[in-house]
Symmetry: C2
Subunit: 228 residues, 2 copies
Protein backbone atom coordinates (compact mmCIF):
# COMPACT_ATOMS: atom_id res chain seq x y z
CA UNK A 1 0.00 0.00 0.00
CA UNK A 2 1.19 3.54 -0.68
CA UNK A 3 2.24 5.88 2.14
CA UNK A 4 -0.85 8.01 1.53
CA UNK A 5 -3.20 5.02 1.83
CA UNK A 6 -1.38 3.81 4.95
CA UNK A 7 -1.73 7.26 6.52
CA UNK A 8 -5.44 7.35 5.75
CA UNK A 9 -5.87 3.82 7.11
CA UNK A 10 -4.03 4.93 10.27
CA UNK A 11 -6.39 7.90 10.48
CA UNK A 12 -9.42 5.59 10.38
CA UNK A 13 -7.90 3.43 13.13
CA UNK A 14 -7.10 6.48 15.26
CA UNK A 15 -10.69 7.72 14.90
CA UNK A 16 -11.97 4.23 15.74
CA UNK A 17 -9.73 4.05 18.82
CA UNK A 18 -11.01 7.42 20.10
CA UNK A 19 -14.62 6.33 19.66
CA UNK A 20 -13.86 2.94 21.27
CA UNK A 21 -12.34 4.78 24.23
CA UNK A 22 -15.57 6.74 24.69
CA UNK A 23 -17.68 3.59 24.35
CA UNK A 24 -15.54 1.81 26.96
CA UNK A 25 -16.11 4.68 29.45
CA UNK A 26 -19.85 4.54 28.67
CA UNK A 27 -19.97 0.76 29.27
CA UNK A 28 -18.02 1.13 32.52
CA UNK A 29 -20.33 3.89 33.75
CA UNK A 30 -23.36 1.69 33.02
CA UNK A 31 -21.74 -1.37 34.60
CA UNK A 32 -22.29 -3.49 31.50
CA UNK A 33 -19.60 -6.05 30.72
CA UNK A 34 -18.98 -6.19 26.96
CA UNK A 35 -17.50 -9.17 25.13
CA UNK A 36 -16.49 -9.07 21.45
CA UNK A 37 -16.64 -12.52 19.80
CA UNK A 38 -14.36 -13.00 16.79
CA UNK A 39 -13.68 -16.03 14.58
CA UNK A 40 -13.76 -17.44 11.05
CA UNK A 41 -17.13 -17.86 9.34
CA UNK A 42 -18.65 -21.15 10.48
CA UNK A 43 -16.82 -21.53 13.80
CA UNK A 44 -20.14 -21.53 15.60
CA UNK A 45 -20.19 -18.06 17.16
CA UNK A 46 -23.96 -17.80 16.93
CA UNK A 47 -24.67 -21.22 18.45
CA UNK A 48 -22.15 -20.50 21.22
CA UNK A 49 -23.68 -17.11 21.90
CA UNK A 50 -27.27 -18.40 21.82
CA UNK A 51 -26.41 -21.00 24.46
CA UNK A 52 -24.45 -18.44 26.53
CA UNK A 53 -27.39 -16.01 26.50
CA UNK A 54 -29.84 -18.75 27.50
CA UNK A 55 -27.70 -19.86 30.46
CA UNK A 56 -27.22 -16.28 31.67
CA UNK A 57 -30.94 -15.55 31.42
CA UNK A 58 -31.84 -18.81 33.23
CA UNK A 59 -29.48 -17.72 35.99
CA UNK A 60 -31.28 -14.39 36.34
CA UNK A 61 -28.71 -12.22 34.55
CA UNK A 62 -29.73 -9.75 31.87
CA UNK A 63 -27.88 -9.76 28.58
CA UNK A 64 -28.19 -8.27 25.12
CA UNK A 65 -26.41 -8.85 21.82
CA UNK A 66 -25.33 -7.00 18.70
CA UNK A 67 -24.53 -9.20 15.72
CA UNK A 68 -22.64 -8.18 12.60
CA UNK A 69 -22.96 -9.70 9.14
CA UNK A 70 -22.37 -8.58 5.58
CA UNK A 71 -25.92 -9.56 4.70
CA UNK A 72 -29.08 -11.15 6.19
CA UNK A 73 -30.70 -10.85 9.63
CA UNK A 74 -30.54 -14.64 10.16
CA UNK A 75 -28.27 -14.50 13.20
CA UNK A 76 -30.35 -11.90 15.04
CA UNK A 77 -33.43 -14.10 14.53
CA UNK A 78 -31.57 -17.15 15.90
CA UNK A 79 -30.26 -15.25 18.92
CA UNK A 80 -33.67 -13.80 19.76
CA UNK A 81 -34.82 -17.33 20.63
CA UNK A 82 -32.78 -16.98 23.83
CA UNK A 83 -35.12 -14.21 24.99
CA UNK A 84 -32.38 -11.56 24.98
CA UNK A 85 -32.76 -8.23 23.15
CA UNK A 86 -30.76 -8.54 19.90
CA UNK A 87 -29.92 -6.13 17.13
CA UNK A 88 -28.45 -7.01 13.75
CA UNK A 89 -25.76 -4.79 12.24
CA UNK A 90 -25.71 -5.32 8.47
CA UNK A 91 -22.31 -4.06 7.31
CA UNK A 92 -23.24 -4.09 3.59
CA UNK A 93 -19.94 -5.54 2.45
CA UNK A 94 -17.59 -4.22 5.16
CA UNK A 95 -15.51 -7.10 6.49
CA UNK A 96 -15.48 -6.17 10.20
CA UNK A 97 -17.38 -4.14 12.81
CA UNK A 98 -16.19 -0.64 13.75
CA UNK A 99 -16.83 1.35 16.93
CA UNK A 100 -19.16 3.78 15.13
CA UNK A 101 -21.42 0.86 14.08
CA UNK A 102 -21.68 -0.20 17.72
CA UNK A 103 -22.44 3.36 18.87
CA UNK A 104 -25.13 3.71 16.19
CA UNK A 105 -26.94 0.56 17.36
CA UNK A 106 -27.21 1.36 21.08
CA UNK A 107 -29.93 4.02 20.71
CA UNK A 108 -32.96 3.38 22.87
CA UNK A 109 -31.27 0.73 25.00
CA UNK A 110 -30.66 1.53 28.69
CA UNK A 111 -27.19 0.02 29.04
CA UNK A 112 -27.47 0.01 32.84
CA UNK A 113 -30.28 -2.55 32.48
CA UNK A 114 -27.83 -5.13 31.12
CA UNK A 115 -25.26 -7.17 33.03
CA UNK A 116 -23.65 -8.33 29.77
CA UNK A 117 -23.56 -7.10 26.19
CA UNK A 118 -22.18 -9.43 23.52
CA UNK A 119 -20.93 -8.30 20.15
CA UNK A 120 -20.77 -11.05 17.54
CA UNK A 121 -18.33 -9.74 14.95
CA UNK A 122 -18.36 -10.48 11.21
CA UNK A 123 -16.90 -13.95 10.53
CA UNK A 124 -13.35 -13.06 9.53
CA UNK A 125 -10.13 -14.19 11.18
CA UNK A 126 -8.12 -11.23 9.90
CA UNK A 127 -9.65 -7.76 9.70
CA UNK A 128 -11.66 -7.47 12.97
CA UNK A 129 -8.41 -7.78 14.96
CA UNK A 130 -7.51 -4.15 14.21
CA UNK A 131 -10.77 -2.61 15.45
CA UNK A 132 -11.34 -1.93 19.14
CA UNK A 133 -15.08 -1.84 19.87
CA UNK A 134 -14.77 -0.69 23.47
CA UNK A 135 -15.14 -4.25 24.73
CA UNK A 136 -13.84 -5.42 28.12
CA UNK A 137 -13.10 -8.90 26.77
CA UNK A 138 -12.13 -10.07 23.31
CA UNK A 139 -12.92 -13.75 22.78
CA UNK A 140 -11.45 -15.60 19.79
CA UNK A 141 -13.26 -18.81 18.88
CA UNK A 142 -11.72 -21.71 16.96
CA UNK A 143 -13.61 -24.86 16.01
CA UNK A 144 -12.03 -28.32 16.08
CA UNK A 145 -12.78 -28.65 12.35
CA UNK A 146 -10.61 -25.69 11.29
CA UNK A 147 -7.19 -27.20 11.89
CA UNK A 148 -4.69 -26.87 14.72
CA UNK A 149 -2.43 -24.47 12.80
CA UNK A 150 -4.82 -21.52 12.60
CA UNK A 151 -3.29 -19.54 15.52
CA UNK A 152 0.10 -19.66 13.75
CA UNK A 153 -1.40 -18.58 10.44
CA UNK A 154 -3.57 -15.76 11.84
CA UNK A 155 -1.42 -14.39 14.69
CA UNK A 156 -2.90 -10.85 14.96
CA UNK A 157 -6.35 -12.17 15.87
CA UNK A 158 -5.13 -14.63 18.50
CA UNK A 159 -2.58 -12.17 19.82
CA UNK A 160 -5.20 -9.43 20.33
CA UNK A 161 -7.63 -11.74 22.20
CA UNK A 162 -8.05 -12.03 25.98
CA UNK A 163 -9.52 -15.50 25.88
CA UNK A 164 -9.70 -18.41 23.42
CA UNK A 165 -12.69 -20.75 23.12
CA UNK A 166 -12.49 -24.05 21.25
CA UNK A 167 -15.92 -24.87 19.78
CA UNK A 168 -17.58 -28.02 18.39
CA UNK A 169 -15.71 -30.32 20.80
CA UNK A 170 -18.41 -32.93 20.03
CA UNK A 171 -16.72 -33.33 16.62
CA UNK A 172 -13.18 -33.69 18.03
CA UNK A 173 -13.11 -37.47 17.53
CA UNK A 174 -14.54 -37.35 14.00
CA UNK A 175 -11.87 -34.91 12.84
CA UNK A 176 -9.01 -36.43 14.91
CA UNK A 177 -8.55 -33.08 16.64
CA UNK A 178 -5.11 -32.65 18.22
CA UNK A 179 -5.94 -30.75 21.40
CA UNK A 180 -2.35 -30.55 22.70
CA UNK A 181 -1.05 -29.10 19.41
CA UNK A 182 -3.84 -26.51 19.40
CA UNK A 183 -3.08 -25.42 22.96
CA UNK A 184 0.64 -25.16 22.13
CA UNK A 185 -0.06 -23.11 18.99
CA UNK A 186 -2.45 -20.72 20.77
CA UNK A 187 -0.02 -20.28 23.67
CA UNK A 188 2.94 -19.69 21.34
CA UNK A 189 1.12 -16.77 19.72
CA UNK A 190 -0.47 -15.42 22.92
CA UNK A 191 1.36 -16.75 26.00
CA UNK A 192 -0.80 -17.23 29.08
CA UNK A 193 -4.17 -16.78 27.37
CA UNK A 194 -6.94 -18.84 29.05
CA UNK A 195 -8.49 -21.51 26.80
CA UNK A 196 -11.97 -23.06 27.18
CA UNK A 197 -13.25 -26.22 25.47
CA UNK A 198 -16.96 -26.15 24.59
CA UNK A 199 -19.73 -27.73 22.58
CA UNK A 200 -22.82 -25.59 22.09
CA UNK A 201 -24.54 -28.69 20.69
CA UNK A 202 -24.11 -30.97 23.72
CA UNK A 203 -23.68 -28.12 26.21
CA UNK A 204 -20.34 -29.51 27.41
CA UNK A 205 -18.20 -26.78 28.95
CA UNK A 206 -20.88 -24.10 28.51
CA UNK A 207 -21.91 -23.64 32.14
CA UNK A 208 -18.26 -23.59 33.23
CA UNK A 209 -17.55 -20.93 30.58
CA UNK A 210 -20.46 -18.79 31.80
CA UNK A 211 -19.23 -19.09 35.41
CA UNK A 212 -15.79 -17.96 34.24
CA UNK A 213 -17.36 -15.03 32.36
CA UNK A 214 -19.18 -13.94 35.51
CA UNK A 215 -15.90 -14.04 37.47
CA UNK A 216 -14.30 -11.95 34.71
CA UNK A 217 -17.06 -9.40 35.19
CA UNK A 218 -16.47 -9.25 38.96
CA UNK A 219 -12.72 -8.69 38.42
CA UNK A 220 -13.51 -5.97 35.89
CA UNK A 221 -15.90 -4.25 38.29
CA UNK A 222 -13.26 -4.21 41.04
CA UNK A 223 -10.68 -2.83 38.60
CA UNK A 224 -12.93 -0.09 37.24
CA UNK A 225 -13.97 0.93 40.78
CA UNK A 226 -10.33 1.12 41.89
CA UNK A 227 -9.49 3.27 38.85
CA UNK A 228 -12.08 5.87 39.84
CA UNK B 1 -15.88 5.29 5.00
CA UNK B 2 -15.28 8.84 3.79
CA UNK B 3 -15.49 9.76 0.10
CA UNK B 4 -11.73 10.32 0.02
CA UNK B 5 -10.99 6.86 1.40
CA UNK B 6 -13.51 5.28 -0.98
CA UNK B 7 -11.86 7.03 -3.92
CA UNK B 8 -8.43 5.80 -2.84
CA UNK B 9 -9.79 2.29 -2.36
CA UNK B 10 -11.28 2.49 -5.84
CA UNK B 11 -7.88 3.61 -7.11
CA UNK B 12 -6.22 0.52 -5.61
CA UNK B 13 -8.85 -1.73 -7.19
CA UNK B 14 -8.43 -0.03 -10.58
CA UNK B 15 -4.66 -0.52 -10.39
CA UNK B 16 -5.19 -4.16 -9.37
CA UNK B 17 -7.61 -4.72 -12.25
CA UNK B 18 -5.14 -3.32 -14.77
CA UNK B 19 -2.37 -5.58 -13.48
CA UNK B 20 -4.75 -8.56 -13.40
CA UNK B 21 -5.65 -7.85 -17.02
CA UNK B 22 -1.95 -8.04 -17.96
CA UNK B 23 -1.47 -11.23 -15.95
CA UNK B 24 -4.46 -12.84 -17.66
CA UNK B 25 -2.98 -12.08 -21.10
CA UNK B 26 0.36 -13.52 -19.92
CA UNK B 27 -1.31 -16.72 -18.68
CA UNK B 28 -3.26 -17.06 -21.94
CA UNK B 29 -0.12 -16.60 -24.03
CA UNK B 30 1.65 -19.29 -21.98
CA UNK B 31 -1.36 -21.63 -22.14
CA UNK B 32 -1.44 -22.04 -18.38
CA UNK B 33 -4.88 -22.40 -16.81
CA UNK B 34 -5.04 -20.48 -13.54
CA UNK B 35 -7.48 -21.23 -10.71
CA UNK B 36 -7.88 -18.97 -7.67
CA UNK B 37 -9.11 -20.91 -4.61
CA UNK B 38 -10.97 -18.85 -2.00
CA UNK B 39 -12.68 -19.81 1.27
CA UNK B 40 -12.82 -19.27 5.03
CA UNK B 41 -9.85 -20.32 7.12
CA UNK B 42 -10.10 -24.04 7.82
CA UNK B 43 -12.30 -25.04 4.87
CA UNK B 44 -9.56 -27.39 3.71
CA UNK B 45 -8.16 -25.50 0.71
CA UNK B 46 -4.67 -26.89 1.24
CA UNK B 47 -5.77 -30.54 1.60
CA UNK B 48 -8.02 -30.14 -1.47
CA UNK B 49 -5.20 -28.56 -3.47
CA UNK B 50 -2.61 -31.13 -2.37
CA UNK B 51 -4.86 -33.96 -3.58
CA UNK B 52 -5.69 -32.08 -6.81
CA UNK B 53 -1.98 -31.54 -7.57
CA UNK B 54 -1.17 -35.22 -6.88
CA UNK B 55 -3.93 -36.45 -9.21
CA UNK B 56 -2.88 -34.07 -11.99
CA UNK B 57 0.77 -35.09 -11.68
CA UNK B 58 -0.13 -38.81 -11.64
CA UNK B 59 -2.07 -38.20 -14.86
CA UNK B 60 1.00 -36.63 -16.50
CA UNK B 61 -0.08 -33.00 -16.23
CA UNK B 62 2.27 -30.35 -14.91
CA UNK B 63 1.02 -27.98 -12.23
CA UNK B 64 2.38 -25.36 -9.85
CA UNK B 65 0.94 -23.46 -6.90
CA UNK B 66 1.19 -20.11 -5.16
CA UNK B 67 -0.15 -20.04 -1.62
CA UNK B 68 -1.00 -16.95 0.41
CA UNK B 69 -0.97 -16.66 4.20
CA UNK B 70 -0.58 -13.86 6.73
CA UNK B 71 2.22 -15.82 8.37
CA UNK B 72 4.11 -19.16 8.18
CA UNK B 73 5.26 -21.25 5.22
CA UNK B 74 3.36 -24.32 6.50
CA UNK B 75 1.05 -24.59 3.51
CA UNK B 76 3.85 -24.42 0.94
CA UNK B 77 5.63 -27.24 2.78
CA UNK B 78 2.44 -29.34 2.76
CA UNK B 79 1.79 -28.72 -0.93
CA UNK B 80 5.37 -29.57 -1.93
CA UNK B 81 4.67 -33.16 -0.91
CA UNK B 82 2.64 -33.47 -4.13
CA UNK B 83 5.83 -32.97 -6.15
CA UNK B 84 4.61 -29.70 -7.71
CA UNK B 85 6.66 -26.49 -7.60
CA UNK B 86 5.16 -24.31 -4.85
CA UNK B 87 5.82 -20.79 -3.64
CA UNK B 88 4.54 -19.22 -0.44
CA UNK B 89 3.33 -15.61 -0.46
CA UNK B 90 3.50 -14.23 3.08
CA UNK B 91 1.21 -11.20 3.11
CA UNK B 92 2.46 -9.91 6.49
CA UNK B 93 -0.97 -8.97 7.75
CA UNK B 94 -2.77 -8.18 4.48
CA UNK B 95 -6.05 -10.07 4.42
CA UNK B 96 -6.11 -11.09 0.73
CA UNK B 97 -3.84 -11.61 -2.28
CA UNK B 98 -3.43 -8.86 -4.87
CA UNK B 99 -2.33 -9.10 -8.51
CA UNK B 100 1.04 -7.47 -7.78
CA UNK B 101 1.84 -10.21 -5.23
CA UNK B 102 1.16 -12.84 -7.91
CA UNK B 103 3.31 -11.01 -10.47
CA UNK B 104 6.15 -10.71 -7.96
CA UNK B 105 6.19 -14.47 -7.31
CA UNK B 106 6.34 -15.71 -10.91
CA UNK B 107 9.99 -14.75 -11.51
CA UNK B 108 12.13 -17.61 -12.73
CA UNK B 109 9.16 -19.86 -13.56
CA UNK B 110 8.57 -20.69 -17.24
CA UNK B 111 4.77 -20.45 -17.27
CA UNK B 112 4.56 -22.34 -20.56
CA UNK B 113 5.94 -25.40 -18.72
CA UNK B 114 2.76 -25.62 -16.62
CA UNK B 115 -0.66 -26.90 -17.64
CA UNK B 116 -2.21 -25.54 -14.46
CA UNK B 117 -1.30 -22.88 -11.89
CA UNK B 118 -3.26 -22.80 -8.64
CA UNK B 119 -3.45 -19.80 -6.36
CA UNK B 120 -4.52 -20.60 -2.81
CA UNK B 121 -5.78 -17.29 -1.44
CA UNK B 122 -5.64 -16.13 2.19
CA UNK B 123 -8.41 -17.78 4.23
CA UNK B 124 -11.03 -15.04 4.27
CA UNK B 125 -14.58 -15.22 2.97
CA UNK B 126 -14.87 -11.45 2.48
CA UNK B 127 -11.92 -9.44 1.21
CA UNK B 128 -10.41 -11.63 -1.55
CA UNK B 129 -13.67 -11.33 -3.54
CA UNK B 130 -12.74 -7.81 -4.70
CA UNK B 131 -9.31 -8.68 -6.09
CA UNK B 132 -8.95 -10.15 -9.57
CA UNK B 133 -5.68 -12.11 -9.80
CA UNK B 134 -5.86 -12.75 -13.54
CA UNK B 135 -7.31 -16.22 -12.95
CA UNK B 136 -9.37 -18.10 -15.53
CA UNK B 137 -11.44 -19.80 -12.82
CA UNK B 138 -12.41 -18.64 -9.34
CA UNK B 139 -13.31 -21.54 -7.09
CA UNK B 140 -15.09 -20.89 -3.79
CA UNK B 141 -14.82 -23.74 -1.27
CA UNK B 142 -17.26 -24.35 1.59
CA UNK B 143 -16.89 -27.16 4.10
CA UNK B 144 -19.85 -29.11 5.46
CA UNK B 145 -18.91 -27.96 8.98
CA UNK B 146 -19.37 -24.24 8.27
CA UNK B 147 -23.15 -24.14 8.03
CA UNK B 148 -25.52 -24.08 5.09
CA UNK B 149 -26.23 -20.33 5.41
CA UNK B 150 -22.75 -19.05 4.48
CA UNK B 151 -23.56 -18.22 0.82
CA UNK B 152 -26.40 -15.97 2.02
CA UNK B 153 -24.20 -14.26 4.60
CA UNK B 154 -21.17 -13.76 2.33
CA UNK B 155 -22.78 -13.09 -1.06
CA UNK B 156 -19.92 -11.18 -2.76
CA UNK B 157 -17.58 -14.16 -2.55
CA UNK B 158 -20.08 -16.70 -3.85
CA UNK B 159 -21.37 -14.29 -6.46
CA UNK B 160 -17.91 -13.63 -7.87
CA UNK B 161 -17.02 -17.34 -8.15
CA UNK B 162 -17.22 -19.51 -11.28
CA UNK B 163 -17.46 -22.79 -9.40
CA UNK B 164 -18.33 -23.93 -5.86
CA UNK B 165 -16.72 -26.93 -4.16
CA UNK B 166 -18.16 -28.48 -1.01
CA UNK B 167 -15.31 -29.96 1.05
CA UNK B 168 -15.09 -32.47 3.94
CA UNK B 169 -18.08 -34.48 2.68
CA UNK B 170 -16.78 -37.34 4.89
CA UNK B 171 -18.05 -35.29 7.87
CA UNK B 172 -21.51 -34.61 6.37
CA UNK B 173 -23.21 -37.22 8.57
CA UNK B 174 -21.47 -36.14 11.77
CA UNK B 175 -22.59 -32.53 11.34
CA UNK B 176 -26.05 -33.36 9.89
CA UNK B 177 -25.16 -31.41 6.76
CA UNK B 178 -28.18 -30.28 4.76
CA UNK B 179 -26.99 -30.69 1.19
CA UNK B 180 -30.23 -29.52 -0.46
CA UNK B 181 -30.32 -26.30 1.58
CA UNK B 182 -26.67 -25.58 0.73
CA UNK B 183 -27.29 -26.07 -2.99
CA UNK B 184 -30.36 -23.82 -2.81
CA UNK B 185 -28.43 -21.10 -0.95
CA UNK B 186 -25.46 -21.19 -3.35
CA UNK B 187 -27.77 -21.11 -6.37
CA UNK B 188 -29.84 -18.24 -4.94
CA UNK B 189 -26.71 -16.07 -4.66
CA UNK B 190 -25.08 -17.26 -7.91
CA UNK B 191 -27.68 -18.87 -10.20
CA UNK B 192 -26.36 -21.64 -12.44
CA UNK B 193 -22.96 -22.04 -10.76
CA UNK B 194 -21.65 -25.64 -10.94
CA UNK B 195 -21.21 -27.32 -7.53
CA UNK B 196 -18.87 -30.25 -6.74
CA UNK B 197 -18.96 -32.42 -3.61
CA UNK B 198 -15.56 -33.65 -2.44
CA UNK B 199 -13.58 -35.17 0.39
CA UNK B 200 -9.83 -34.72 0.21
CA UNK B 201 -9.54 -37.21 3.08
CA UNK B 202 -11.32 -40.15 1.42
CA UNK B 203 -10.71 -38.93 -2.13
CA UNK B 204 -14.43 -39.04 -2.95
CA UNK B 205 -15.26 -36.70 -5.80
CA UNK B 206 -11.63 -35.67 -6.34
CA UNK B 207 -10.95 -37.49 -9.64
CA UNK B 208 -14.28 -36.30 -11.04
CA UNK B 209 -13.39 -32.74 -10.03
CA UNK B 210 -10.00 -32.98 -11.76
CA UNK B 211 -11.65 -34.33 -14.91
CA UNK B 212 -14.04 -31.38 -14.83
CA UNK B 213 -11.13 -28.98 -14.37
CA UNK B 214 -9.40 -30.45 -17.42
CA UNK B 215 -12.57 -29.95 -19.46
CA UNK B 216 -12.71 -26.34 -18.22
CA UNK B 217 -9.17 -25.87 -19.49
CA UNK B 218 -10.09 -27.26 -22.93
CA UNK B 219 -13.08 -24.89 -23.17
CA UNK B 220 -10.86 -21.98 -22.11
CA UNK B 221 -8.25 -22.88 -24.75
CA UNK B 222 -10.90 -22.93 -27.48
CA UNK B 223 -12.26 -19.58 -26.28
CA UNK B 224 -8.86 -17.89 -26.11
CA UNK B 225 -7.92 -19.23 -29.57
CA UNK B 226 -11.19 -17.95 -31.05
CA UNK B 227 -10.60 -14.51 -29.51
CA UNK B 228 -7.25 -14.19 -31.31
Amino acid sequence: MSTRVLELHQGILDKNDRLAYDLRREFEAAGVYVANLVSSPGTGKTAFLERTLSILIEQGCSAAALVGDLATENDARRLERSGAPVRQIVTAGICHLEANMIAAHLDGWRLADFDFLFIENVGNLVCPSGYDLGEALRVVLLSVTEGEDKPLKYPPMFNSADLAVITKMDLAGAVEFDCAATYANIQSVCPGIPIWETSAKTGDGMVAWVEYLKRCKLDWQLETEMER
